[in-house]
Subunit: 217 residues, 2 copies
DNA sequence: GACACAATACTCCAATTGAGGTATTTTAGG
DNA sequence: CCTAAAATACCTCAATTGGAGTATTGTGTC
């Protein structure tokens, strides 16, 4: 299996290369100090010479996340494992979005890196435990709480109900019919809604309701 | 470290118990055939006797995902590792949502299970490689493509611009002023929008625009 | 340069909406 | 039981909106 390594620290990349090439089914076919050097190299490669797996550092002039995105878009068969010291949520998230299939901290022992390379071509992903925990937390976080917290809803139950119908594009006569109340009553509710929300038309009110997730899905 | 095991297969749970209790910092303090039995046990426990970690199977009368949710809500200090044969996306996702911090397939060797138990109290998570791959794919999937694909946008650039202002609650006179065009022209655009979208009021039009993500964020 | 389409602008009419009231009946809590 | 809030209902007037036209001026493409 052909593996390339990208890391701006010379000692580190040579060290990793030596450690993993001791395994007989792994062959290091390229060691680069920057993402751009890797990209240049890949462009010159015959497809049969392309690496199967790339171990990618992040902090480089042409950074590893950007490089990962380019590699995955141009060479879909190459799998990428991030090998870095970064463990903040955003870096992890961006790396995965860019297409990384594994994420290891540099502190991992050689056997783990080697297992990651082998597993990745088998459809598996190896992730350092502390990184895995952060990814799990990310998945467990409800969609809406990732965004800003909604404002408190000052409306009554009936008002929310009517605002929901407004948001769906219903007119006042349609709402009256649907709720079995008079047209004038609907209008009164609507005006009360406007006053509470400090708006003066139904589209603004609908926007507030949607933005704040006041309406049931 | 105190570990409990929940699995409806007697052979399996005894087997796991024997394998992990060979490690001297792990002590099996409860083995249950169903989630409900575990919950009953936890209720009777003094807090100092509660397990630190639970290995949880999924397929049981009181299923493991439900049980996980209850345990995490009542006993926040207990960490839960799923130990199961299920590897479908939805089961994994639901387990994580319920609060599982680790996810292992039953095929994993004893050392991996033991390492998972030790790591979890250290702030790490161990996930079987094939499961990890699926979680990574999940995180990498763009938010919107998890939902239905948006319809093709039949509107012109100017129409989209105006629909955007409508969606923000602007009136036609306000839009006219903002775009330096006449009020009557705005109304013409708006009517063209309605015709193309087959709607007859601005709130419906705004809803379509938002639902289909036609507007820039 | 011809042609389609987008963008601009206007008129007229009817329906809906927004803003200001008042008033009665339910509902929920103390 | 009493009271406050919510829900109901109605009136009036002005502004905005929606629907139906017509017409002129870019703009880009073949």
């Amino acid at each position: 299996m052909k593996v390339s390594i990208v890391d701006d620290n010379e000692l580190m990349r040579e060290n990793i290369a030596k450690r993993i090439s001791a395994t007989n089914d792994i062959q290091v076919v390229g060691v680069f100090a920057d993402g751009q050097y890797l990209l240049d190299y890949l462009e010159t490669c015959n497809s049969e010479d392309l690496p199967d797996v790339i171990l990618m550092d992040i902090e480089m002039p042409t950074n590893g996340i950007y490089t990962t995105g380019i590699v995955k878009s141009k060479f879909t068969s190459i799998d990428i494992i991030m090998l870095t010291v970064f463990d903040d949520d955003n870096t992890i998230y961006e790396a995965i979005k860019a297409g990384a299939l594994g994420y290891l901290l540099k502190e991992e022992p050689s056997e783990t890196i080697i297992k990651a390379i082998q597993d990745i071509k088998n459809g598996g992903s190896i992730i350092s435990p502390s990184i895995a925990r952060k990814i799990i937390r990310f998945v467990a976080t409800p969609e809406q709480s990732k965004k800003s917290k909604p404002a408190e809803n000052p409306l009554t139950k009936r008002e929310v109900e009517i605002l929901g119908l407004i948001s769906n594009g219903h007119t006042n006569p349609q709402i009256a019919e649907k709720l079995f109340i008079s047209y004038e009553t609907v209008r009164k509710h609507v005006r009360n809604i406007y006053e509470k929300l400090q708006v003066s038309n139904r589209t603004s009110a609908a926007k507030r309701a949607i933005d704040n997730r006041w309406l049931p899905e």
